[in-house]
Amino acid sequence: MDTVLAPLYFLVSWIMIGWHWLFADLLGIGHDGLNWTLSIIGLVVVIRVLLIPLFVRQIKSQRKMQLLQPQLRELQKKYKGDRERLQQETMKLYKNTGTNPFASCLPILLQAPFFFALFRVLDGIANEHPRGAFESQVSLFESARGAEVFGALLSDSFLATDVIQTRIIAMVMVAGMVSSQFITQRQIMRKNMPKESLEGPFAQQQKILLYVLPLIFLFTGVYFPLGTVLYWLTSNIWTMGQQLFVIRRMPAPGSEAEKAQQRRQAEKARRKGLTVAEPEEAPKVEPGQQNGEVEQTRQQPKKTSRAARKKKRK
């Protein structure tokens, strides 16, 4: 495992050391705990900035989605009551027009090895087992080993310690992860989904999720070193910011966020002394309609075997 991930250990540790150098030597911040904390945040920033091109692609595709609305509505009329067929036809339409609003899971899969590498590097720091660039940077390794914020070691974890500060900070970060995820989810639900799709199975799943997610985060928070939890927290907050930006700038048609955007535009026009354009009538939205933010109006596809699908077609 270690040999496969060795290049990633080097990459992750060099990015961290790079940020540490920036904060400690260039800006002269004398607090090593703070420097290493910032360097972990910096690591998230580097990775997420590298992923921005993928995100922009997705947004561009979502903008083009607006043009597909009439065709989508036609499909919805045609395959009313047949969710599975509708999904198939929608996907075909996306393919034929070259506008797929989904990002695929590659951006997420790409981040997983980094997360794991960071976990191993921090774990190594806690257990006096230098990994990656720390193998040759003894003084930096010692500095990272002693890095503490509010009396808690960054490489320490809730379960491995009996220092009360570490436990408190771990729990605070878990609360941070839960609430940032919650806000992201809520923003999508409340603001960026047509009212009709807020009812039905999707909303139910969302409710289940609200209970399952905190458990996952709690597990992470007690098991992983503080630095890794910090990485995830920062990543979550970044996602939240990105989501808020998209909802503000590219709301789904028929959603609350779209009305808010129209109000803002009308207000802006009025302040500039131009004639006020009445907010356009929101397009009528069918239940379960997929639009601008299609990824949000997700319906769990029902699992059927191929044999069952075949039967249905006949």
Binding site: Y94, N96, G98, N100, F102, R298, K303
Partner: protein, 108 residues
């Protein structure tokens, strides 16, 4: 074995897929595809098919319909016949004469 894998995948779908909502560019989504392929083809072929699908699914691919091939149509490489969802619906307006070997993605 294949049942175990399918159960794990279902657990994954229950938790992780919820986290990120729909992101897959294909129908069925990669995880649904994996469950289907493991159930129809067994652990070995099923996992192989699922891994290939995962490799196909990235932001530069066209996406679209990509069904699990039937056991008769299974191919270890290349796109199997009858997986584009067109075979049962010749009258449909979009590309009725689909060439089955055209990969959905560049480099697939």
């Amino acid at each position: 074995m294949s049942r175990l894998i399918a159960a794990l995948l279902k657990a994954y779908r229950l938790v992780v897929s919820q986290l990120y909502l729909q992101t897959c560019r294909y129908y069925p989504s990669c995880s649904a595809y994996a469950i289907g392929s493991v159930e129809t083809h067994g652990a070995l072929r099923g996992v192989w098919l699922a891994l290939r699908r995962l490799g196909r699914c990235h932001p530069w691919c066209a996406g679209g319909v990509d069904l699990v091939p039937t056991p008769e149509n299974y191919r270890w490489w290349g796109r199997a016949a009858g997986t584009d969802g067109e075979d049962h619906d010749v009258s449909h307006e979009t590309t009725p004469n689909h060439v089955p070997n055209v990969p959905a993605c560049r480099g697939a």
